[in-house]
């Protein structure tokens, strides 16, 4: 799949050179200032299978960054690599100035990164409260104040505190998953397809919640199938194709760019 796409000629070869002269979307993948997450020339994959090559990505402190791109572009792989769940091959991942590639997830959590995977992201047999408690497993004491903060953010979870997470609706489960990842008050929250599987009327509600998490100071790095909405909401967006950077710009600039719209946002 990946190899095919690389060798196949683009539909309009003339326009699809490496950096089209008429492109308005940027291709400067690094930012100028300090970044809490700094990915440089990253090669990673699963076992011998390489998915990412030379990926460059920055997230500034408190920034809201989205990764979009076609299926199989390696969007989720970027997140999993940041979290130490893939095979790191080359390049660096730095978090708050310290290299974190090669660390185990348990150590990366301690650095201040939270991760909400796309599927199976709650413990169905545990109560809502127990799910949250597990999010703070590495602490000696259950942080009651943080549980209260999360209940204030997602009031329905307070009502459902003793209910098993497996009996909740999709949207409520997603809140439990986010709450669990927020238990250690991370500086960076990784969200893999947070709107996947949600009823359409809940999607915009979920995006509002993510906005509020970001407004409270947590940097967000998100992969989203709902690319238009994600780009509208975020500060900056990365377009990934075949495991490589293609475009990087402010969300509205990517939305406005004709090539991006045609090739990745369905017109």
């Amino acid at each position: 799949m990946t190899a095919d796409a690389e060798t196949d000629p683009e539909p309009t070869p003339d326009d699809a050179s490496e950096t089209p002269p008429d492109a308005t979307a940027g291709t400067d993948h690094a930012i100028d200032g300090d970044a809490i997450l700094r990915i440089r020339d990253l090669d990673a994959g699963y076992g011998d299978l390489q998915i990412l090559s030379d990926v460059v990505l920055d997230v500034a402190d408190g920034e809201y960054v989205t990764i979009v791109g076609p299926n199989g572009a390696g969007k989720s792989t970027v997140m999993k690599t940041v979290f130490g769940l893939t095979t790191h091959m080359d390049g660096t991942v730095e978090f708050e100035g310290e290299p974190i590639h090669g660390l185990a997830p348990e150590q990366i959590i301690r650095e201040g990164v939270g991760f909400v995977p796309q599927n199976d992201n709650v413990f169905p047999g545990l109560s809502v409260r127990e799910n949250l408690e597990m999010g703070a497993y590495i602490l000696d004491e259950v942080p009651e104040a943080q549980i209260e903060t999360i209940y204030d953010r997602f009031p329905i979870l307070r009502e459902r505190s003793d209910q098993k997470a497996g009996t909740l609706s999709g949207g409520q489960r997603q809140m439990v998953a986010m709450g669990r990842a927020l238990m250690l008050d991370p500086d960076l929250l990784l969200l893999d397809e947070p709107s996947a599987g949600l009823a359409p009327d809940l999607v915009s509600d979920m995006f509002d919640r993510i906005d509020r998490i970001n407004e409270s100071g947590t940097a967000v790095l998100m992969v989203e199938q709902n690319a238009k909405e994600a780009l509208r909401r975020c500060d900056r967006g990365y377009v990934l194709v075949n495991g490589e950077n293609r475009y990087t710009d402010r969300g509205e600039m990517l939305l406005a760019d004709e090539d991006v719209r045609r090739d990745f946002l369905g017109g």
């Binding site: 979290f83 769940l85 997830p105 348990e106 959590i109 301690r110 991760f115 995977p117 199976d120 992201n121 709650v122 413990f123 169905p124 047999g125 545990l126 127990e130 408690e133 597990m134 999010g135 497993y137 590495i138 098993k164 497996g166 669990r180």
Partner: protein
């Protein structure tokens, strides 16, 4: 809907057995149905079934836990049961018979000596401290062995599939079993002393209850309650349920998998050892491979209850135990193990996930 004919069959069969049982109790004979059966015998069958069931259920807890947290069926679990029995009774003998009988004979549960169970006099009424310390020793030694087996065999294979681990566990079972035979000998021998007036009769029920059976009841229920409290109300127990639910999510949540796995072996192995020790209290005899023979019934209980569920293992154990003993009302006692498996197979046909399967109680 699919299971309807099967359910009907089971209900009819159960109804027939119930009618037959009532007829037997009333002493009415109608052709093949009925006959005679005293209330006493039924009561003692049920009581024995409950006691055996508690022992099987206690052993099943560990088997179910290792299945749900490590994803493999551990065939060395039965031999852990034997290890608990021998190590625990060695310690109990040492305390009960110290000074009168050579220490080597005591520690090997009488293999090297000519002392009889009566000489050592291990019994809950005469040497209660020895019996209780022995129970503790059975738990501790078996838990340590379970952790050692994990380090030696299963930890290096952590990423392998369940079949590879299952076969490795059969190898571990053989190693443990024949080391037991090497150390303790292969003869079956009596262990507990008999004490007069150890039977407590419950008059109105016509039930005669042995002090050792009461000990098993109290010890097994106590351990099960402790297990329940640990699982539901401690951080470690919650982490165990979390790992049983979703190992990948446990990893990215920061739950230290290896520590939880070690705790699983300690608790599961320890309970297996304790159940082996208690089983000897019930039967009065010990033999190097009795745990292996018991493993089939333990598996039946765990599968019946829903493999992976701790509570299912307990309920499954009770069902298997009661079927095991009450089936002798209808069939010769040589076949009662077959009756236990028949019930397990019926359960698999009607409800493949088991009694507690899919309920996610861990």
């Amino acid at each position: 809907m699919r299971a309807r004919p099967g359910v009907l069959f089971v209900v009819l069969l159960g109804g027939l057995l119930l009618v037959d049982l009532t007829a037997k109790l009333a002493g009415v004979g109608l052709g093949p149905i009925g006959g005679s059966l005293s209330v006493d015998r039924l009561g003692s069958n049920l009581w024995n079934g409950i006691v055996i069931g508690l022992v099987i259920g206690l052993a099943g807890i560990g088997l179910s836990m290792t299945y749900s947290i490590l994803s493999f069926a551990n065939f060395s679990h039965g031999d852990l049961v034997s290890v608990g029995a021998f190590s625990g009774w060695g310690v109990a003998f040492l305390i009960a018979g110290f000074g009168d009988v050579p220490v080597r004979a005591l520690l090997t549960v009488r293999d090297a000596g000519s002392a009889s169970p009566g000489d050592i006099g291990a019994h809950i009424l005469t040497t209660p401290a020895a019996i209780l310390v022995g129970l503790l020793a059975a738990f501790v030694v078996t838990a340590l062995l379970a952790v050692a087996l994990d380090r030696a065999f299963y930890k290096p294979m952590r990423d392998r599939d369940g079949i590879a681990l299952l076969i490795a566990s059969i190898g571990a079972a053989l190693v443990v079993r024949y080391l037991l035979q090497f150390g303790y000998g292969s003869d079956r021998r009596g262990v507990t002393a008999s004490v007069d007036a150890s039977n407590l009769a419950f008059g109105p029920l016509g039930l005669s209850v042995n002090a050792h059976e009461l000990t098993i009841l109290v010890a097994a229920l106590g351990l099960m309650l402790a297990m329940h409290g640990m699982l539901q109300h401690t951080k470690l127990g919650t982490a165990m349920r979390a790992m049983a639910d979703n190992k990948d999510l446990a990893l990215i949540t920061g739950i230290p998998a290896e520590r939880v796995v070690t705790a699983t072996w300690i608790i599961g192995g320890g309970l297996a050892g304790a159940s082996g020790y208690l089983y000897v209290l019930l039967r009065g005899t010990i033999q190097f491979d009795f745990g292996w023979l018991l493993l089939l019934l333990i598996f039946a209980a765990v599968i019946l209850g829903g493999i992976g569920s701790v509570y299912g293992a307990i309920v499954g154990g009770l069902v298997i135990g009661v079927v095991f003993t009450t089936s002798t009302i209808w069939i010769p006692s040589d076949f009662n193990q077959a009756a236990a498996f028949a019930v397990m197979i019926l359960m698999l046909l009607l409800r493949p996930e088991g009694l507690f399967g899919g309920v996610s109680t861990t």
